[in-house]
Symmetry: C2
Subunit: 211 residues, 2 copies
């Protein structure tokens, strides 16, 4: 059995096969995925409630993120990721901390490599921190945010030199969590998000080169 329509459409959006602003027609998707319109419709509506899709008149288009929305998203993200770091420092199990440590260690090998692979590793790292917070509402809300981030142009890891800096920031976060230092973990993660936003702005402004 193959994946359901919801997953297929979501993956297609995340893979940028459907671009922000692009219109999604039920019958086309149904044919493309070899199912009827019914499951496609359901998938589209679920994605709409998650703000991945937006209504434009009667039809649905892939949501777009303008500059303002980007700033708004990062404002919320900073707060929630900071909370996640604080809670992870408080609630993470020793096993979870070791997983975080090994993730950071493994990421050394990826430095300078494929930006897409770096981005995936980064996603896994942050996801692991979310889970370590042991707060399912927080996990859910951060999931939503990260979904919306998939609508952005490209990963900030494509920026020249960003990967090494980010890895250092990751190390600082994990160290703070391992030390059970809530405030330091909170601050380290906020700084990390802030830097990532800054990088993205520089790329957008054309100041930073992409590899």
């Amino acid at each position: 059995m193959q994946k359901d329509a919801y997953t297929l459409i979501l993956e297609a959006i995340e893979a940028r096969q459907f671009r922000p602003g692009e219109r999604l027609v039920e019958s086309e998707l149904a044919e493309r995925f070899g199912v009827s319109r019914t499951p496609v419709r359901e998938a589209l509506q679920r994605l709409e409630t998650q703000s991945m899709l937006k209504r434009d008149g009667r039809s649905l288009i892939v949501a777009t993120l303008d500059h303002n929305q980007l700033a708004e998203l990062y404002a919320v993200r900073t707060e929630l990721e900071g909370l996640a770091a604080r809670l992870a420092a408080r609630h993470a199990t020793e096993e979870e901390i070791r997983v975080l440590q090994s993730m950071v260690a493994d990421d050394q090998a990826l430095l300078g490599g494929d930006p897409a692979a770096l981005s995936r590793a980064n996603k896994r790292f942050h996801k692991q921190i979310h889970l370590a917070s042991h707060n399912r509402f927080l996990v859910q809300q951060l999931d939503l945010l990260h979904r919306s981030m998939a609508l952005m142009a490209q990963t900030s890891f494509a920026a020249e030199g960003r990967d090494g800096v980010a890895l250092g920031e990751h190390e600082a976060i994990v160290a703070a969590i391992a030390a059970r230092d809530e405030n330091r973990a909170w601050q380290a993660l906020r700084t990390h998000i802030s830097r990532a936003f800054e990088t993205r702005l520089r790329v957008e402004a054309g100041e930073l080169k992409l590899r």
Copy 2:
């Protein structure tokens, strides 16, 4: 034309016509609302993605909130409402501030009255602060949280004396926002949420009487 299935089911959950834990059967809902199973199905799936419904085997039940989840929810809520207060102090227009001030003034008249009316007024007040943040992601996420709160037993305004205290807290929040004092607004709203949680815990423990 009447409201769509999604709104009807959501309202029924919020009105506690469907209780947490209760199983929702598509065909029953379809008959009750006089539509076919198709729009009911779509509505149920949307509510499931918002965590208002939960899968239990193959069928859907209204989500339940245990004590742990309550604490997790309030942890996230404190952070997001605090951010909303900070952003409202920064971004609210003069008109929005005047609306907040008049809301607080009008709420005086409700003191000691119907807990349900107090709760509605409270919801409107907080919603107005969310909107004054001028951050649509934040509004969206807080909407989600407030939805989930509808799954809780009853409003904390039913607690003896809570309404007067809460109104005072509301006044402090609005004053800080009007003064454009971000930190004071942030702190005032966090304190307010913290007190509300505390009240709820006291009620749950049976320490506080309900009116």
